[in-house]
C-alpha cells in the first residue's frame, strides 16, 4: 500500500516550469490557471489524494518551492 503524503507549493518561489508535474509519478500536480504576484501560474495539487510523499517533485523543482510531508514510516528518503 502506497504511503500517504502531501505537498505545499510556495507560490512566491514557483515559476510554473512544470518540471514537478513531469517528475510526479502519481499525476498529482498541475498548473493553476490564476497567476501569482510575479506573474507565473504556479503548480498545485490537482489530485491530492494520490500523493505518496515521495518528494520526487521537490527534487525536480529548480526553485525549491515545494515542501513535502509524509506519513511517518521508517527508511524513507529524506532530501534526496
Amino acid at each position: 500500500m502506497p504511503s500517504k503524503g502531501k505537498i505545499e507549493v510556495d507560490i512566491v518561489r514557483c515559476k510554473g516550469c512544470e518540471l514537478c508535474i513531469l517528475a510526479c509519478p502519481q499525476d498529482v500536480l498541475a498548473l493553476s490557471d490564476t497567476f501569482s504576484a510575479s506573474g507565473y501560474y504556479p503548480a498545485y495539487m490537482k489530485n491530492p489524494e494520490n500523493c505518496t510523499g515521495c518528494a520526487l517533485c521537490a527534487i525536480a523543482c529548480p526553485d525549491v518551492a515545494i515542501t513535502v510531508w509524509k506519513e511517518e514510516r521508517k527508511g524513507d528518503l529524506i532530501n534526496g
Binding site: K15, F35, A37, S38, G39
Partner: protein, 176 residues
C-alpha cells in the same frame, strides 16, 4: 511633439517587437525616433521592457526617465512602471492579464483586453499589435498608415496572411 514610451511585459509577449515596430513606423512617418531595450541580466526571470521615443526634434538620450506613456502587458510590469509615469501621462493596461488598478488620479488609464481580442482575431501572438494600435490611436504620435506600411519591413520573414492578421490587430486596437 515628444512621446517617451515604456513597454513592459513577459519575455514572450512581443514587447520588443512592438517597440521596434513603433520606432520604425515613427521613422517612416518622418519623425526622429529611438528604441532602447532593457538588456542583459535585467532580462533574466522572463520579464522584458523597452523604451521608444518619437519626436519632431532631435532626441538626446534614448533612455526614458519619466515616460509619457506606459504599456503594461503583465502584472509585474504594472507595479514596476506605473509609478514612473509622468503626471498627465497615459497608462495602457493589458486587462486580460493585469488585475491591479491604478490609484493615481493624475493619469489617463486605457484598459484593453488584448489577449482576448488577439485570440478572437486568431492568435495570441498578435496581442502586442492590438496594444500598438491602441497606443497609436491615443497618443497620435504616428500616423496609422505608417504602422501598416512598416509591418512588412519589421516582420521581414512573415507570411502575407500573418501580416494581414497583424494589420487587423492594429486596427482593432485602434478602436479602443
Amino acid at each position: 511633439m515628444y512621446q517617451g514610451i515604456i513597454i513592459a511585459g513577459f519575455g514572450g509577449q512581443g514587447v520588443v517587437s512592438m517597440g521596434i515596430l513603433l520606432a520604425y513606423a515613427g521613422m517612416v512617418d518622418g519623425k526622429y525616433v529611438t528604441f532602447f531595450p532593457a538588456y542583459g541580466a535585467e532580462m533574466r526571470g522572463g520579464t522584458a521592457n523597452c523604451s521608444v521615443i518619437i519626436s519632431t526634434d532631435e532626441i538626446a538620450a534614448p533612455v526614458v526617465g519619466q515616460p509619457d506613456s506606459v504599456v503594461v502587458m503583465n502584472e509585474p510590469s504594472f507595479s514596476k512602471f506605473e509609478p514612473m509615469l509622468k503626471p498627465g501621462g497615459r497608462l495602457f493596461i493589458n486587462s486580460s492579464l493585469v488585475s491591479s488598478r491604478s490609484k493615481r488620479d493624475d493619469i489617463e488609464v486605457i484598459e484593453i483586453p488584448v489577449n482576448k481580442i488577439a485570440e478572437e482575431i486568431g492568435t495570441l501572438k498578435i496581442a502586442n499589435m492590438v496594444m500598438a494600435g491602441a497606443l497609436i490611436k491615443h497618443t497620435g504620435a504616428i500616423a496609422s498608415e505608417a504602422v501598416v506600411k512598416s509591418l512588412p519591413k519589421v516582420y521581414k520573414r512573415a507570411k502575407p496572411e500573418i501580416l494581414k492578421l497583424n494589420e487587423v490587430a492594429v486596427k482593432r486596437g485602434a478602436e479602443y
